[in-house]
Symmetry: C2
Subunit: 402 residues, 2 copies
Amino acid sequence: MTAPLHQTHPAGPGRATPDTQQGMRRRNLARVMHTVSAGGPLSRAAVASRIGLTRAAVSSLVDELIRSGLLEELGPERPGRVGRPGSALAVSGRGPAGVGAEVGVDHLAVCAVDLRGQVRARAVRYGANRGRPPEPVAGELAGLVRRVVAEAEGQGLWPAGLAVAVPGLVARDARTVVRAPNLDWQDTDLGALLPGDLPLTVDNEANFGALAELWLGDGTPRDFLHVSAEIGIGAAVVVDGRLLRGTRGFAGELGHVPVRPDGPECACGGRGCLEQYAGEDAVLRAAGVAPGEDRVGLLAGRAAQGDEAVRRALRDAGTALGIALTGAVNLLDPDGVVLGGALAGLAPWLLPSLRAELARRTAGPACPVSVSELGSEGPLLGAAHSVVRGVLDDPASVAGRS
Amino acid sequence: MTAPLHQTHPAGPGRATPDTQQGMRRRNLARVMHTVSAGGPLSRAAVASRIGLTRAAVSSLVDELIRSGLLEELGPERPGRVGRPGSALAVSGRGPAGVGAEVGVDHLAVCAVDLRGQVRARAVRYGANRGRPPEPVAGELAGLVRRVVAEAEGQGLWPAGLAVAVPGLVARDARTVVRAPNLDWQDTDLGALLPGDLPLTVDNEANFGALAELWLGDGTPRDFLHVSAEIGIGAAVVVDGRLLRGTRGFAGELGHVPVRPDGPECACGGRGCLEQYAGEDAVLRAAGVAPGEDRVGLLAGRAAQGDEAVRRALRDAGTALGIALTGAVNLLDPDGVVLGGALAGLAPWLLPSLRAELARRTAGPACPVSVSELGSEGPLLGAAHSVVRGVLDDPASVAGRS
């Protein structure tokens, strides 16, 4: 589980495992885990019939998964079923947990999610991280991780891996933050700054947000564009249930799509990029609101109270998003666009102009735009769940580690 | 081979075949074909050692491929090799051929390509197709197909399938042209208009052009954006050696990415789309050149002679392409951009401003832009080769059909 994120296994678990006896057992362990995870509690017989293996074969797999602490027996099934009562199997609420972390511009957050998908421990620390060097930020994050791990361990869980969401571009090594302009970080090897006792994956927050949407969202399509924002605007492209990462891992930079080619200069070197119109700083400026803590809450509050300057600024941001998304939709032809992160909280005031702009520029029905129900929790949950998915996809990778 | 284009098999042949005895033989037939295709002529022993099967197993596979007319024996290998002389194997220059066809705005073209990748027959008919109903165009195309097939059959080949490139959006059924604005076609079931005796695949010309680039180009990366133009501007997105098709099959509509959101109205319903600045009609208008036959040749000729109005029009088109490609590169993070089709012929006058615009708008090194050596032949060759690839990827699909 050193690179769980590259193993999102859209076509089922263990696809890449070589086709040996051992590989087949590994894949079958994953099949059992996914079957119980999706449909449990289930008897051994029910698992066997669902995955098309003999009951004896399934029993041997189940025994191994119970020994590893990944499955547990709930005791005899309730009576009334045909045949000898079997013991119902469920994914363990103890055993391995995924630890997710988020480096935000204004906060740090860590959570632990068990194999059932429940958040079992959580810690947040508010405070501006912009302009702080990576070392103290990573140090504080490590402290939060230790606290969450200790709390999880107190409940019989153990950490299977750590996944960290950052607001910036991450290299394909899944540990180096190449550029995080809103933190002022550049070429930062986050892997070297965090404790080395857990398998680590670092990824862009929009990517983790998109994975959360894919895994936890209600009816999320398998081809979509996930757009989120904190100070900058990030996007993640999901094609057939997989993240499109790009050659360097930088795909999804919607914030630097030119909206008005002669517009204001942008830090990226361009002009009139989307961030100049729909980034938080730009919206605050246009609304005449001084930046402070909880900027999204501030904007949403004022907009809800009817502040016309704020509403106009958000309307214009929606229009700019609509222009940039028209280009993205033309290039990618997704099933839908999902607004997440800070954008989700501002959706009531962004969406009308965004949708109108997209419709105006589209022949035929416009691409549907929806709002994430996970909102700003998406990246953190996506990070933790990416570790959990890694365990479900290859239970053998953590067997014997409990 | 009814859907060869969805089977581009980036990770090797026959991936999707179920894992049965028969499936394994199918995959091994493909392995032998690809090995001889890539490295032939080769002896049976050399094939066996390259794919890691016993010589006996390879001989049985080779015999089947020879019987099906896919491989041929060249006779005893030249002396001087160690051991008993074996007969060298080569991909057959007879046997199955891929028939590619192109519906252009100003021409129809058909060619037959053998398993060795050689064009063995070719027919072209010049004449404007814009505004003509699909029936007579398809009728003429069918005539050219018959002529090319007859010529190929005279050389001992037989057609394994027909792939047709069209300048428009094609549904995922790979036969319905949903919208081809430059032909004035809409919801045209091309499959019903062409003779039904060959397995048929219809696809967008930019997609076939991109596949030609991927298969025949020298050093083409596996992640790239292929941009081509006839009257409109199309693009194809290749990710890890596979076409990104989009939910409806419409991905790659670079021509309708907004470049100047308040620019001139476009037929798509939008404003200031790339086609309004870099499409052929727009460039001809800006250059003050009357549209006629061979517009690209006309523009290239005038530009080469130093016509300043034409050069300025092409320079401005390059700038507009640079703006639209900045957005695409930010979203997709490809290894490179390849200009193909009509754009390849105009590259000397488009590229400087295009590259400058892309560099100006990019922090760090800009995405490299190169020019296709296949030029306007790309889509036709890509179509024919897609059929050939289908045979190499699954030789069993055509066995016994000769």
